[in-house]
């Protein structure tokens, strides 16, 4: 009797301790995870990709890249310029290998987004044919595409909806990712969870923002930040969305309609010459979605220490595995836009300061930029780091000789025409 009571007691203690340890482990797990995010941000951000991967750059006829750029040099300055600078960077990067046999990744330098309207907006209608033509070329001239059908190839597709190659979301979804790129790794600015145009394993990158220009507009850090909320840009895209409600899913229009008269909100459509300076005098900078969820304001906000207020449901942010966006930005659901003032003002000042502190981290800023020449830790290196983290390739990406999975005739008929 006594012993059984003792046994019960011991078991009770045992359970109790077990419960404690489970809880403690759960707790550990949580704190560790949190620590890991902010810690790993630092770690991963400052990784050096050199020596961890080798990239082979296909030599394509200049009509795929240089000639296109010659035709329209504006491609170097717009926010899709990452494809060009990535090419230039890889040409002189130490990770480049001239021996394709030892390469981990293959890069095809094709400037699919460099076809601009007179207004400077890219027209992606020829892009699928161009891409197809380039892939046909590399698959017939080199054996490496057919070895994996593109699984160890990466492509830079910085267009609005990445490799869907259309600026209207509905059309882009209808099209889907170019069938030939099904197996390739895409490096793109577009990122939205569970979206047709964002496939598993893609790397989301920041849009290109001119680094020298931004550097030139830096103002002393002691100029007081006296603007609460700052935004410059379109609210309605009357030309493409005359009835309203499609553009930015109505979020930008809602910002305007609710806060146009609010003195805390410095919002307007005109683009002043002091745009960059003003961002440095603001505490919060709105980064609402446009036609695509991403926006160059994300980069500008990070560079200028203005806390990005991200209004884009389910957005996948650039280098989300390396940058703790939750810690540096504010996420506002699109349906909560009418309460934007309440949401922003209810952030405790200490949290605001912490976000600013994180934003002030130079490695964070560096990771958002594509500087010329490249610098350690910049966005080029983050892309390479991302690619290196995917190594080694899974065994099953290598096809048995003669095996075919890609359907070369899939997709709209118009895309099948030769470029």
């Amino acid at each position: 009797m006594k012993i059984s009571v003792w046994a019960a007691f011991v078991i009770f203690i045992f359970f109790f301790l077990l419960l404690l340890t489970i809880q403690a482990r759960e707790h550990d797990h949580h704190t560790q995870q949190r620590e890991r995010i902010s810690g790993s941000a630092g770690d991963v951000l400052e990784d050096d990709p050199v020596g961890r991967l080798k990239v082979f750059v296909y030599e394509l006829p200049s009509k795929y890249n240089k000639k296109i750029l010659q035709k329209d040099p504006r491609c170097l300055t717009h926010m899709f310029a990452a494809e060009i600078f990535m090419h230039r960077f890889l040409m002189s990067s130490p990770v480049r290998t001239l021996n394709p046999e030892e390469a981990d990744w293959f890069y095809t330098p094709v400037y699919t987004t460099c076809d601009l309207t007179p207004n400077g907006l890219p027209l992606p209608f020829k892009s699928p044919r161009m891409m197809r033509s380039a892939i046909q070329l590399i698959s017939s001239n080199w054996p490496y595409w057919n070895r994996t059908e593109g699984a160890d190839h990466f492509f830079v597709t910085p267009h609005d909806f990445g490799a869907c190659f259309h600026y209207q979301e509905e059309k882009a979804i209808e099209r889907g990712i170019l069938p030939l790129l099904q197996r390739a790794t895409l490096v793109q600015t577009f990122g939205q969870q569970n979206h047709v145009c964002l496939k598993q394993g893609s790397i989301t990158i920041p849009p290109y923002a001119p680094p020298q220009k931004m550097q030139a507009h830096l103002i002393p850090p002691d100029i007081p930040r006296s603007i609460f909320v700052y935004f410059r840009g379109l609210f309605y895209d009357v030309g493409n969305d005359p009835e309203g409600g499609y553009y930015a899913r109505g979020a930008r229009a809602a910002v305007w309609e609710n806060f146009k008269d609010n003195p805390l909100f410095d919002i307007s459509t005109e683009h002043p010459t002091t745009y960059y300076e003003d961002m440095q005098r603001a505490v919060f900078c709105l980064c609402p979605l446009g036609w695509a969820p991403w926006s160059p304001r994300l980069v500008e906000g990070v560079i200028f220490g203005c806390i990005p207020v991200i209004i884009a449901d389910d957005i996948v942010l650039p280098f989300a595995d390396a940058i703790p966006w939750e810690d540096i930005g504010v996420f506002v659901a699109e349906k909560d836009v009418p309460n934007l003032d309440t949401i922003l003002t209810s952030i405790p000042p200490e949290v605001v300061l912490r976000k600013q502190r994180l934003l002030a981290n130079p490695s964070m800023k560096q990771a958002m930029l594509f500087p010329q020449p490249a610098q350690p830790g910049d966005a080029f290196h983050q892309i390479l780091n991302g690619l290196a983290r995917k190594l080694p390739h899974d065994r099953n990406v290598y096809l048995t000789p003669g095996e075919k999975t890609l359907n070369w005739t899939a997709g709209p008929v118009a895309d099948l025409k030769p470029w």
């Binding site: 007081p224 609010n262 996420f331």
Partner: protein
């Protein structure tokens, strides 16, 4: 919770299971008991393992169950298609900061409504919170990057003063500026004619560390004499600094100076002796010729506001001084304190200099040689024209404020008549000094309903929210300066009988960049709106009936008569503006000898050109003579024209009478 319950059940089960057989068993069979104990432990272990595994398993099940399948990107739902373009939703008081953590995307492609909340007005408490955030951010910026980051020096402020009608007005203004200084501060106030209670009361209110020193001589009534005496009073204060070996930066703040808060940061950088530019608000008491004269002079120099201070060459070195050119004013300037004429500054005002207090010490290490010892100077006002007399070589002076290009300090002398007989029971119940930086971009005036503090916004349907009720007015300023102004909002709730303040500065954390309203004022707020009406472009003014009965209005109109308002408000290129809202409570009601507007002063010139003075000041800005601007309409007319000026204050201040008045 369920988890622990489950455990307890199990525990009791196992307990029962073990006890029941043991009770039936022979108690002598020990090996069996140990065996049962062993089995029990084994059983317990199994329980634990299954528990842990079960927990993990159930978590996976839960995860799979509640993360919904991914069916997205349907075509636009009919709901959204049938919606009108503008969807109005109820304002939800939901303040989730994180986006939804559900892993699936529920974003619908296609047309979305534009969400507009029914009440567009900002919530005042949220506005306050926003300003608190801005405040905190700016404080942090100053802490990390500003001058405060490395051991700021303390300030020693020297102020000569004397008891007079406008002393309270001026001294309170200065006091409030000083109270906002984020550095250690010692205020040395030297009072002519000996220490008085009046001055002492004001100083006591300041919560500053101060020395109140009496000076035997009385303040003379002529301006020249006053300047001389003030110089000597300042020297008295400098001797105190020397005797007490105070360490810090000495600045000379006259009670009628106006300081930009940046000045206090700027002078932190001074090593021995620095000079800043002083904007001269030389107000003209007279109309007509003197006015046109100043105007002509301004045209010639193309300087809307005279500035005195250091002059630099292109490489930023001190090469000379901008001094106030009094020549054009020579015959028009005031000789006596109450003259209705231009009050002119000296060539170089003391206020434009700051110095390291170690210069004054008898011995200090590395004290420069180019400094005269204080004892060798003759105690004579004429010899002490400016602090330059402290130096043997004035070329060592460090020009401050981007070499004098930034005007951070203003000089103004406005005095009531020396013989103005303000009754002894006259108490300044309070004064508000709003120190604003200029270039007010937007301003909205909103009316609150009486007794509706929680929701002070009027119906959105009300076409003109400014005029619905007379009881309470909420004035909101949005102040945006070129690069430097930080506190953008003041909200002032004026009620008929009391003043409540909301805005960023009700909290005790006063920030130097902030727009500041002083004192939590529970006292009476009765103001002669007459004083506001002429000068301030207010939307209320149009429909406003000036209420000039009663003594308050008249008292305020003294202020008005002397042009303090006008010159402060209307000067172009003014970097800061000061608004004084004052009211006197007269107790007991007595016959006041302050004259009414149209009755002449006893033994004084027959008419007081009060309105004309103001309009005269307007002429500075708009080359437009409104000599007969006695009616408010003409003043409005000039105001409208003023709006077309590019750098004119575009702000609106409104004050209203309570209905019971």
């Amino acid at each position: 919770m369920k988890f622990s319950l489950l455990q307890q059940n199990r525990r009791s089960n196992s307990f029962r299971n073990t006890t029941d057989p043991s009770s039936t068993l022979d108690p002598s069979s020990k090996p069996q008991t140990t065996a049962s104990f062993f089995w029990l432990v084994l059983h317990g272990l199994c329980c634990v393992i299954s528990l842990v595994l079960g927990f993990r398993f159930s978590r996976i099940i839960f995860f799979l169950l509640f993360s919904s399948p991914t069916t997205h990107f349907t075509t636009p739902t009919p709901l959204f298609n049938t919606q009108t373009q503008i969807t109005t939703t109820q304002l939800q008081e939901q303040t989730t900061l994180n986006r939804s953590t559900t892993p699936s995307s529920r974003v619908i492609v296609g047309r979305h409504g534009i969400l507009i909340r029914p009440n567009p007005h900002p919530n005042p408490t949220e506005v306050m919170k926003a300003h608190r955030i801005l405040d905190r951010v700016q404080k942090q910026q100053r802490f990390e990057y500003g001058v405060t980051k490395n051991n700021p020096k303390s300030l020693i402020v020297i102020t000569p003063t004397y008891v007079r009608t406008f002393q309270t007005l001026h001294l309170t203004g200065l006091m409030h500026s000083l109270m906002l200084v984020p550095y250690n501060l010692v205020w040395i106030v030297v009072e002519a004619g000996g220490v008085t209670n009046e001055t002492g009361t004001i100083l006591d209110k300041s919560r500053l560390q101060f020395f109140h020193i009496g000076f035997e001589e009385k303040m003379p009534v002529d301006w020249a004499g006053r300047h001389r005496l003030e110089a000597r009073m300042r020297f008295r204060a400098l001797r105190v600094v020397r005797e007490e070996r105070m360490d810090g930066i000495v600045m000379f703040a006259d009670d009628s100076n106006m300081h930009s808060m940046e000045l206090f940061d700027e002078i932190q950088s001074v090593k021995w002796m620095g000079a800043v530019s002083v904007g001269i608000l030389a107000h003209s008491g007279n109309i007509g010729e003197s006015e046109s004269l100043t105007h002509k002079e301004e045209d010639e120099e193309n300087l809307p506001m005279p500035v005195q201070g250091p002059a630099c060459n292109s490489s930023g070195q001190l090469i000379g001084w901008h001094t106030f050119n009094s020549l054009p004013y020579l015959e028009k300037s005031a000789t006596y304190i109450d003259d209705r004429a231009m009050v002119l500054p000296r060539k170089l005002e003391w206020a434009g200099f700051v110095l390291n207090s170690k210069l004054l010490w008898k011995e200090a290490e590395d004290k420069p040689e180019w400094v005269r010892d204080l004892d060798t100077l003759v105690d004579d006002g004429d010899a002490l024209e400016s602090p330059l007399s402290l130096l043997k070589d004035a070329s060592f002076i460090e020009p401050l404020g981007s070499c004098g290009r930034n005007v951070l300090l203003w000089w103004l002398r406005v005095e009531a008549r020396a013989d103005s007989k303000f009754p002894p029971g006259l108490v300044l119940s309070y004064s508000i000094i709003i120190q604003l930086f200029i270039s007010l971009l937007t301003c909205s005036v909103l009316t609150c309903h009486e007794n509706e503090t929680s929701h002070p916004w009027p119906d959105t349907s009300s076409p003109n929210p400014t005029m619905t009720k007379l009881g309470t007015i909420l004035v909101i300023y949005e102040i945006m300066g070129p690069g430097l102004v930080s506190a953008p909002m003041v909200c002032l709730e004026l009620q008929a009988s009391k003043v409540e303040l909301c805005g960023p500065n009700v909290s005790p954390t006063w920030d130097s960049y902030s727009v500041n309203l002083m004192d939590t004022m529970a006292s009476l707020f009765k103001i002669g709106t007459k004083a506001f009406e002429g000068e301030i472009p207010t939307p209320l003014g149009r429909n406003h009936q000036p209420n000039l009965n009663g003594s308050q209005a008249e008292t305020v109109s003294v202020l008005y008569d002397h042009g303090a308002w006008g010159s402060l408000w209307l000067r172009p290129n003014l970097k800061r503006l000061t608004i004084y809202v004052c009211s006197w409570v007269i107790d007991p009601p007595l016959e006041i000898t302050v004259p009414a507007k149209h009755t002449p002063w006893p033994d004084a010139p027959p008419e007081l050109p009060s309105d004309d003075k103001v309009s005269a000041i307007q002429e500075h800005t708009e080359k437009h003579s409104t000599k007969t601007g006695r009616t408010s309409r003409s003043r409005h007319g000039s105001r409208n024209k003023r709006k077309s000026e590019p750098r004119i204050v575009d702000s609106q201040v409104s004050a209203m009478h309570g209905e019971e008045k």
